[in-house]
């Protein structure tokens, strides 16, 4: 407890290969990745398009299943290896420890923007009205106009959907955030708002791993870089 910057994520010897049976193809993405991420730092995943940045990020969320290696995350006073955990353990880690901002918002038919954003808090047992109030405060901060809150976000613009997606994740103070191009379709004004939100979470002590194509965002939010191209050359 004395360490103010404890390690939150510990990845060792991680390997991921896609086997496409219909085409008889085997596509190795990475073979031996290892790194740590501490509380309060933001690790930037770098490298050219197609090198496997998103695949690594999805593996850290246990969305993709690696062939080998371990992904240990600090959770509930102990460690959980997401590469070996039971499904209900993974769900619990996702509910309480890891927020993942995907590139695209997954809209749920008929669910309003307000309820979509409040949902992760309700899943944690928070009262629905309290959760909605916190959702509204964050939507306001992220520049989503109040008249839109009662609508499902299906018809929103790309930038609006992306900010709803961010709100749905950042409405919970997770100890870990995974960010897949969180500012990709935002204009300068909204990008600045999102950067401020990310920096605030990082300064509060959240551990982050992110993919940022925007150089300014990378400079302001990132604290360290992992270049997947270097790893591949070394391998």
């Amino acid at each position: 407890m004395s360490n103010p910057k404890p390690t939150m994520i510990e990845v060792r010897e991680l390997a991921k290969t896609f086997v496409l049976h219909a085409r008889g193809a085997t596509i190795p993405v990475f073979a031996d990745i290892g790194f740590d991420v501490d509380a309060g730092e933001c690790l930037v995943l770098a490298g050219p398009s197609g090198i496997g940045k998103s695949t690594l990020l999805r593996s850290l969320y246990a969305n993709y299943r690696p062939q080998r290696g371990s992904i240990r995350v600090r959770h509930g006073g102990g460690w959980v290896d997401l590469a070996a955990a039971q499904p209900h353990e993974v769900l619990d880690v996702r509910r309480r420890a890891i927020g993942y901002v995907s590139q695209f918002l997954r809209v749920i038919p008929r669910v309003t923007t307000r309820d979509l954003v409040a949902e992760p808090l309700v899943a944690l047992g928070l009262d629905a009205d309290v959760a909605r109030a916190r959702a509204e405060a964050l939507l306001l901060r992220l520049n989503i106009p109040a008249p839109l809150w009662s609508l499902p976000p299906a018809t929103f613009s790309g930038g609006e959907q992306q900010r709803v997606n961010l709100a749905r994740v950042f409405v919970v103070d997770y100890p870990i955030y995974l960010l897949d191009e969180p500012t990709a379709s935002l204009d300068a004004e909204n990008r600045a708002i999102v950067v401020a939100l990310l920096v605030e979470a990082r300064n509060r002590g959240a551990a982050m791993v992110g993919i940022f194509h925007d150089r300014e965002v990378r400079a302001e939010v990132g604290t360290r870089t992992l270049d997947l191209a270097d790893l591949q050359r070394a391998a």
């Binding site: 496409l20 049976h21 993709y64 299943r65 209900h88 353990e89 769900l91 038919p109 008929r110």
Partner: protein
């Protein structure tokens, strides 16, 4: 972590020389929704009927943790005990609402008789609770005395859902609950099921061939082919990173909207 509500061990069902399903094992925890997917004829509905106490398996066991008597073997207990389980702790939503409703009884009667089966006797209270449930499934409570025949397919399905949820079951079996309905009606039903199952903490086994439906409702997924489980995992893992050749084929066959 809470103990499993349902445990299935090496379940198999044969019809004569035909193998409908085999080697099926999994556990289901309270509040968990398990999706079973696979093409027609993969053995999904047969498996669901075996799980739900409606079709005795040829081999294997279905173990259910009851509220007061610990874990019971669903097919080792006496028929009346099994029927009681079905009326109180479990619910079954059939693809065709006509299989799950009594057509000669009013909509309100269909919902209310489940309450009476668990001991409710006060007419006014039953009627109020039924009215409340019709509202919750977005039906006009003024139609409480009308017969299912006068309802559309989507509305009948909502009566069936109310009938099954009114006794607050711990485990729900859903067989293609949105099959054969308009997409807009499907969305309404899915939203209803999602919020009701989520807020009541009900565990469910959901059989469907619609991968969009499981994406929305199921925490975990089991993929069946020729009566056997070929892949299982969290829903998003199976759909986003399918490993088995058959799952890859299934996922890549979805038409994008």
């Amino acid at each position: 972590m809470t103990e499993p509500l349902l445990r299935v061990e090496n379940l198999a069902k044969r019809f004569g020389a035909t193998l409908a399903c085999a080697d099926v094992s999994f556990v289901l925890r309270p509040g968990e929704v398990l999706g079973i997917v696979g093409e027609s004829g993969a053995g999904k509905t047969t498996l669901l009927r075996c799980l739900a106490g409606q079709l005795r398996p040829t081999a294997g066991r279905v173990l259910y943790r009851t509220r007061h008597e610990g874990e019971v073997d669903v097919y080792a207990i006496a028929e009346p005990a099994r029927r009681l389980l079905l009326r109180t702790d479990w619910g079954i939503v059939h693809q065709n609402p006509r299989d799950g409703l009594r057509l000669e009884v009013s909509a309100g009667g269909n919902v209310g008789e489940r309450l009476m089966a668990v001991g409710a006797r006060h007419y006014g209270k039953i009627r109020n609770e039924v009215s409340d449930w019709l509202t919750r499934v977005e039906l006009d409570p003024a139609r409480i005395d009308q017969y299912p025949e006068t309802f559309s397919g989507g509305m009948q399905q909502r009566v069936q859902i109310a009938r099954n949820l009114v006794t607050k079951p711990r485990l729900l079996f859903l067989d293609e609950p949105t099959g054969g309905l308009d997409v807009s009606v499907q969305a309404t039903l899915l939203d209803l099921l999602r919020s009701l199952v989520g807020s009541l903490g009900i565990a469910a086994v959901l059989v469907t061939h619609d991968l969009g439906v499981v994406r929305l409702l199921a925490h975990r997924l089991v993929v069946m082919k020729d009566g056997r489980i070929v892949e299982h995992g969290l829903t998003d893992q199976v759909l986003d990173d399918p490993q088995h050749p058959y799952t890859q084929l299934l996922v890549s066959s979805i038409l994008p909207v």
